[in-house]
């Protein structure tokens, strides 16, 4: 699967009567990604998260288009193709166990309960998450383990496009190494895009790194 963005523009309107000004988050972003790993770096507010959300079909852009294998893909199609791991783990049901959360989101992504559980167990082992942690209520997990559950949710879809926003956030050294391995493996069958504020990790994970500033891709390094 090759995913290509052509001239993506996203302007967030200011809330009505707020006196604020619209926020231009993406200003004509163009990029291409095929199976492999690409990194996205840039200062805070440069548009990394907005770009990943637009490619995931979570956001709809104001202009430009995304092509999947050369065919224009709307937000609905992108949600079928892409798995997205947000930077913030506050996207789970806190009173359910981690395993139940993964079963629920797996079902929404089309996975049956057995497949979701098997993939969750395998990924948990890879990320150094003990089985007991999977049965623990989500709000009783540590920050790092919440991040691992968020990563498992995205990886377990085995989507053709994998979008990881700050995936190393909160992980210990061993888990970071395991995640680097998982990203490399995913890159064999998926187009993986990940953002990070760690230049070292980004370069270890990604074969090429795009730099964003002011809502534009301003550079690319292999």
């Amino acid at each position: 699967m090759e995913i290509a963005a052509r001239g993506l523009v996203k302007v967030f309107p200011a809330p009505a009567l707020s006196g604020g000004v619209p926020l231009a988050a993406l200003d004509g972003v163009c990029l291409e990604a095929r199976p492999g790993v690409a990194g996205v770096e840039g200062p805070n507010g440069s548009g990394k998260t907005t770009l990943l959300k637009a490619l995931a079909g979570v956001l709809e852009t104001d202009a430009g288009e995304v092509l999947a294998d050369g065919i224009p893909a709307g937000a609905g199609r992108l949600r079928e193709l892409a798995a997205y791991c947000p930077a913030n783990p506050r996207s789970f049901y806190f009173r359910l166990s981690a395993a139940e959360n993964l079963r629920f989101f797996g079902a929404l992504a089309g996975l049956d309960a057995g497949t979701a559980a098997a993939r969750a167990a395998g990924l948990a082992e890879r990320l150094g998450l003990q089985a007991a942690e999977l049965s623990r209520r989500f709000d009783r997990l540590s920050e790092g383990n919440m991040q691992k559950i968020s990563l498992i949710r995205a990886f377990s879809r085995r989507a053709q496009v994998l979008l990881l926003d700050e995936p190393f956030r909160g992980l210990d050294a061993a888990s970071t190494e395991s995640l680097l391995g998982l990203i490399e493996e995913a890159g064999r069958y998926s187009a993986v895009l990940l953002s990070s504020h760690s230049p070292q990790l980004l370069r270890r994970a990604a074969g090429r790194v795009l730099t964003m500033r002011g809502g534009r891709v301003t550079g690319e390094a292999a």
Partner: protein, 270 residues
């Protein structure tokens, strides 16, 4: 993904969440019974003689209000639960995550409140058991097929109103004028606590614009008055007309409001 799989996933999730709040469930059931008891004693205080407005229904006050509350409790689930659930998803931060999946709008809507309808069915059964065994109610004249038809048409209509109401939550997060109308005026103008014939003329005219008026009247006439499908055909047709317009409109409007939230980047906001 299939709507059935989404419904099953949401029901399981909501059951597990509700189970984690055990006290809330027991208090809710106790409140329902206390509410019924209030109307039971009002009925005993006034009896049937002071209620000429109830003559068409062939019953006295307590059976009338009991049937209304049981019926309105269920169809009100449709009116209130969509916006409630959506708001809950927003504040938990899970709405954006759920809508980041391939789940389509109709499946999402079918699944979002499936648990509420399941629970409302259980409450309806509790109402029925309490009515029969605790308060000694009997409905010998009831035309159950006609009542079932009125029930289905009404439930669909109120679910559509609930979906439209949830569009306000999707777009504005807080401040829901339709929910305000549904919560504050449906009971007053729809004949839930008393027949609308006791309202003054100008309020009666307003009540004729509301589907709840036809819903409650048709159901009451079928259950308490023994009216058949033909006898309540006018009300059923009006409910069907409301359904025909409101159901597709509600799904379309909800899709539009989700799209708007995706465009403004407010899907994850609360």
């Amino acid at each position: 993904m299939s709507a059935a799989r989404a419904v099953a996933a949401f029901v399981r999730r909501d059951f597990l969440q509700e189970r984690s709040y055990r006290l809330s469930f027991s208090l809710g059931a106790a409140a329902t019974l206390a509410n019924l008891a209030v109307f039971y004693f009002i009925g005993r205080l006034f009896g049937g003689e002071l209620a000429p407005g109830l003559k068409p229904y062939g019953t006295d006050y307590f059976p009338y209000v009991f049937v209304s509350l049981a019926f309105f409790g269920y169809i009100g689930t449709g009116a209130g639960s969509y916006s409630g659930r959506l708001r809950q998803e927003q504040t938990q931060g899970t709405l954006e995550a759920a809508l980041s999946t391939p789940l389509g709008t109709p499946s999402f809507l079918a699944a979002l409140t499936a648990w509420n309808f399941l629970f409302a069915t259980f409450e309806l059964a509790v109402y029925a058991l309490a009515g029969v065994f605790l308060f000694g109610l009997r409905f010998p004249a009831a035309d159950w097929p006609a009542a079932a038809l009125a029930f289905l048409l009404s439930a669909a209509c109120f679910a559509a109103l609930g979906i439209i109401s949830s569009c306000f939550v999707m777009l504005f997060k807080r401040g829901n004028p339709l929910a305000w109308v549904l919560n504050n005026f449906e009971g007053l103008l729809g004949g839930v606590y008393f027949p609308v014939t006791v309202l003054p003329g100008w309020l009666l005219a307003v009540s004729r614009l509301l589907p709840v008026t036809y819903a409650v009247r048709a159901f009451q006439l079928a259950v308490n008055g023994g009216a058949g499908v033909r006898a309540i055909g006018g009300d059923l047709l009006k409910l069907a007309a409301f359904d025909l317009v409101l159901l597709p409109a509600s799904v379309w409007l909800f899709g539009l409001s989700v799209r708007r939230a995706r465009r403004t980047g407010t899907l994850g906001e609360y």
